[in-house]
Amino acid sequence: MAADKQTKLLAKQLFKLSVVNGVVSPEQVAGVLGWVEKTSPHRPVALLKAYQHRIALELAKSRAEVEHAGPVGDATLKQIEAAMTKRYARPVTATAKANPKLLAGLRVRVGSDIYESSVAGQLATLSV
């Protein structure tokens, strides 16, 4: 069931409470979940889904998903982490994910940004 306007607004307020200094705080999240359990607000499932969606989007901003076709070393991941941390002015952690469809090269996703340096990406550009 889709969240109504009020539920979305409440989810937004709870989300704001969960972020401390631009980072999602596990303690605050636990506090929010405890409050929801205790008070059982209107449409709790829709509320929690909307809240979870916002938290997931926020966490994605601090995570660099590195897709790769060939092997990728820890040093490369560290380099990517450092570059992204500097670029977004927030701590970013890199996680590797194998994707043979890339043929060669890397694709890094941070939030809604994609950094494309793969052969598949270049071929896709040529095909347009």
Binding site: L57, S112, D113, I114, Y115, E116, S117, Q122, T125, V128
Partner: protein, 509 residues
């Protein structure tokens, strides 16, 4: 063999290893040609957004956690969860003279089956209108070829003149006649070798019309050999509302290119009522708050920012706009008509009653006005037609009173007779614009009372006969009137001689 290896190596070296950054999002919902997208954190307002399969959309609603995009193509292959990306480009279309004679869609893509368009330039569809410093007042005429308009409601280059009326009153016909007249003037002007001659290129934007009507318009322009000076932007009723919303702006971009490059252009928006309806549809789907008649609050801005792009620029060219509005049962006080009336520099109001009485073009003299006034008329038209509007207004007033009584004094009768003759004289068949020199000559003949001895029912025949006589036998006199653009003694003598000769031949029939 080593040569081949070297070639491959150099090709590899050329390959770009640069990292390409793109801002992406995911389709959350898609319905009625509008997609709600999650992500796209860097998207700009009115930016082109790339959907899978080469489909393009425009970001119109930038909200806190989602972006509303209208899709300008086939939505059948798109689904929830598809990835979209920003392009970093505002919507632009190809422009230039290569588009003349072509029919394009709202994105400037050819739809006439005549092959690709070789255009080297592009122009943004949305652009801020020229400011007040760069503008120049409207003082050069743009002849429609319609006697009632050119003599009483003159249109100047850079003006916005609204054509308003109920359905089936001849709004499109006036626009087509004007386009045909521009083509005719262009041919004469370019053939004359006059270096100061400025041709007028036309753009016809068809919004929400039946495909058959658009085809009819194209055929009419082709038959009159006017298509070579015209670009047609087609967003028919079958097209999605996003394209119907964009088409007038695309047309304005095409026209602005001519204006910015020192040329004159005429643009017809046929019609803005349907444009407002398309915009209302998009706005409602985007869940924007609705106001009067369910139109969004910025429907005035929609049309004002479009029509303000028509101007005459100092040291450059001009863009003249003829927006069309369809009224319901003659109600000019409805929402969209009053909006557009207040934006434009005058209106030509077409009345159903006049149309049904056979007075075509059915221009209502009382309700029609050109705020540019006589500054957009050449001197000869002012000399022969300066009093016509007043005479017709007097005629209408007296005609209403004359219905109640039969005893009329001589002066009233003379005014009624003169008015009835003017009304007959202004009757003009469609797709048959009249050159300004012929118009001036006919009006001179009217002013000199040559038609007074004729019965009112014979005026149309007499006027046609006079036009034929002048064009076939007095071409030199007409050329002289066209070149001098004012009544001089030799011209008046020539006109008198011609009128006497014509009167004798016409009376002899």
């Amino acid at each position: 063999m080593s040569n081949v290896i070297e070639q491959i190596e150099s090709q590899i070296a050329k390959l770009s290893t640069k990292v390409a950054r793109k801002n992406t999002g995911l389709i959350r919902t898609i319905a009625d040609g509008v997609a709600k997208i999650e992500g796209l954190s860097d998207v700009m307002y009115n930016e082109m957004v790339s959907f899978p399969g080469g489909v393009i959309g425009i970001a119109l609603n930038l909200e806190e956690d989602e972006v509303g995009c209208v899709i300008l193509g086939d939505v059948s292959q798109l689904k929830q969860g598809d990835e979209v990306a920003t392009t970093g480009k505002l919507l632009s279309i190809p422009v230039g003279k290569a588009l003349l004679g072509r029919v394009v869609d709202a994105l400037g893509r050819p739809v006439d089956g005549k092959g690709p368009i070789d255009s080297k330039e592009t122009y943004p569809v949305e652009k801020i209108a020229p400011g007040i410093i760069v503008r120049k007042s409207v003082s050069q005429p743009l002849f429609t070829g319609i006697m009632a308009i050119d003599s009483m409601i003159p249109i100047g280059r850079g003006q916005r003149e609204l054509i308003i009326g109920d359905r089936g009153t001849g709004k499109t016909t006036i626009c087509i006649d004007t386009i045909i007249n521009q083509a005719r003037i262009n041919k004469v002007g370019l053939a004359s070798g006059d270096k100061g001659f400025r041709p007028v290129y036309s753009i016809y934007v068809a919004v929400g019309q039946k495909q058959s009507n658009i085809v009819r318009t194209i055929s009419a322009l082709e038959a009159a050999d006017a298509l070579q000076y015209t670009i047609i932007v087609a967003a028919p009723a079958a097209d999605n509302p996003a394209n119907q919303y964009l088409a007038p702006f695309s047309g304005a971009a095409l026209g602005e290119w001519f204006m910015e490059n020192g040329m004159d252009a005429l643009i017809v928006y046929d019609d803005l009522s349907k444009h407002a309806v398309a915009y209302r549809q998009i706005s409602l789907i985007l869940k924007r708050p609705s106001g009067r008649e369910a139109y969004p609050g910025d429907v005035f801005y929609l049309h004002s920012r479009l029509l303000e792009r028509s101007a005459r620029l100092d040291g450059k060219g001009s863009l003249t706009a003829l927006p069309v509005i369809e009224t319901q049962a003659g109600d000019v006080s409805a929402y969209i008509p009053t909006n557009v009336i207040s934006i434009t520099d005058g209106q030509i109001f077409l009345e159903t009653d006049l149309f049904n009485q056979g007075i075509r073009p059915a221009v209502s003299v009382g309700l029609s006005v050109s705020r540019v006034g006589s500054s957009a008329q050449i001197k000869v038209t002012k000399q022969v037609g300066g009093k016509l509007k007043g005479e017709l207004a007097q005629f209408r007033e007296l005609a209403a009173f004359a219905q109640f009584g039969s005893d009329l004094d001589a002066k009233t009768k003379a005014t009624l007779d003169r008015g009835a003759r003017i009304v007959e004289l202004f009757k003009q068949p469609q797709l048959n614009p009249v050159a300004i020199e012929v118009q001036a000559s006919v009006l001179w003949v009217l002013q000199k009372s040559y038609f007074d001895s004729l019965e009112v029912k014979h005026i149309v025949t007499a006027a046609n006969s006079l036009k034929d006589y002048l064009t076939s036998r007095k071409a030199d006199l007409l050329t002289q009137i066209r070149n001098e653009a004012k009544l001089t003694d030799p011209i008046e003598t020539g006109l008198k001689a011609a009128a006497d000769e014509w009167k004798n031949t016409f009376s002899a029939k």
